[in-house]
Amino acid sequence: MITLKNIYKSFGEREVLKDISLKFTPGEINLLIGASGSGKTTIAKCIVGLHAPDSGEILFDDQNFVQMTFDQKRKIRQDIGFLFQGSALFDSMTVLENVMFPMQMFSDYSKVEMKDRASEYLEKVELSHAHDLFPSELSGGMMKRVGIARAISSEPKYLFCDEPNSGLDPQTSVIIDELISKLTSELKTTTIIITHDMNSVMSIGQNVFFIYKGELNWQGSNKEILNNPSNKELSDFVYASSFLKEVRKKINL
């Protein structure tokens, strides 16, 4: 279980995170939503230790991650899969090698077992045909899927996906959302998805955390968002598209 307590983080003069406290629901999908630049990626990177918060606690099952040594962190990181906003696939490796890499670091499988497992994960994301391609030969959607396969290949307890469907067409987005939600229930991971896609919020948003200018502004489920238009920042964010604005006007919400 991941718990954040009073996290603050500044880059230079700029205060990016202010007093963030939250608890992700274990074994389910958790969504971090918010406008561009609101600090979503920074939260995720603080949790996994890529940024050090200025103050506050990050607890993995009641152990404070912030104060751990490199080796202790490494142990926790075995349980973390991370899909980066830009996929961050290793350019010099093939798709298969990318997916095998976390296993090389964290497991003692033989080379053959690793290959088999990596193939299995690539099958899960429907990329069996792409084993020997290099990242530069993939489309954006394929990269995300390889990124997901790599993130789950170390069988993580915690899966972070930073904008898994940004830059993808609506259909591919839906496919990726379904894939992540299927993997979450199959592998029983605690999944944290960063997104500003309202489609995702509506389809997989049981637990939503709305970040506004570095603060946790609201949390609840997608159903509550619809029934709770009184929060101005939230409804501005949710009904940002002109299409929704029109619909909203029509039905007098």
Binding site: L50, R74, R77, Q78, I80, F82, F84, F90, F101, M105
Partner: protein, 215 residues
């Protein structure tokens, strides 16, 4: 291994071409400058060997490799930084700095002396051909000159320079790449700064080693 292959073999054509022409030019310049009956012809061979071994194959080749290999290293690691590949390594429990930089340093420290010896040979041989071809220096004289006054200490001096330069060519650009912040523009700028700093450090180190060992 891959790094050694890429950086070593990848630089062979460039090193060959440059060493070949410089060897040839040294012979022509020396020959046309000592147009006197009192100075023996074998000095041409001697000069070519000394210039190649002492300075050209280490310092000049080093500077050229800074431009070729050094900028490539800074760009490669810088790109990995801005595309979050370094973050991805960290998440997977890898110590990204040593994982990325160590193999490059090792590869260049090993490959640079080998390139140096290769460059010596190409340069001295090309001088020999040109001397014979143009009639400026007969083959026999050249060979006598090239073998004249052969000091092991000078080879040691050159090898130490090559080792030190190999270290600089790999480590300084790695550092610049690793600490890039921003986007593609910053990677380009970091690569340029890496080349400038490594060149200057290489030249200073050249002076220091030379003063320590040859004076």
């Amino acid at each position: 291994m891959r790094e050694m292959y890429v950086m070593g073999l990848g630089s062979l054509p460039l090193v060959s071409v440059i060493s070949f022409f410089v060897g040839a030019v040294i012979v022509i310049q020396t020959a046309t400058n000592i147009d006197s009956a009192f100075i023996p012809k074998y000095l041409i061979g001697f000069t070519a060997k000394q210039s190649m071994v002492l300075e050209f194959s280490t310092t000049v080749i080093g500077l050229i490799l800074v431009g070729k290999v050094g900028s490539a290293i800074a760009t490669e690691i810088g790109t990995m930084r801005i595309t979050e590949q370094i973050d991805a390594l960290e998440i997977m429990g890898v110590n990204s700095a040593s994982f990325l930089i160590l193999p490059k340093v090792l590869a260049l420290v090993i490959m640079n002396p080998i390139l140096m010896i290769y460059s010596d040979f190409v340069g001295i041989l090309s001088g020999m051909f040109v001397g014979e071809l143009t009639g400026l220096c007969p083959l026999n004289d050249y060979i006598i000159g090239a073998r004249y006054y052969f000091k092991l200490y000078e080879v040691l001096y050159a090898t130490i320079k090559a080792l030190a330069f190999g270290f600089i060519i790999a480590s300084v650009p790695s550092y610049y790449g690793y600490y890039v912040k921003g986007g593609a523009v910053e990677v380009g700028a970091a690569s340029t700064r890496a080349v400038v700093s490594s060149s200057i450090m290489l030249l200073i180190l050249n002076y220091v080693i030379t003063q320590l060992m040859l004076l």
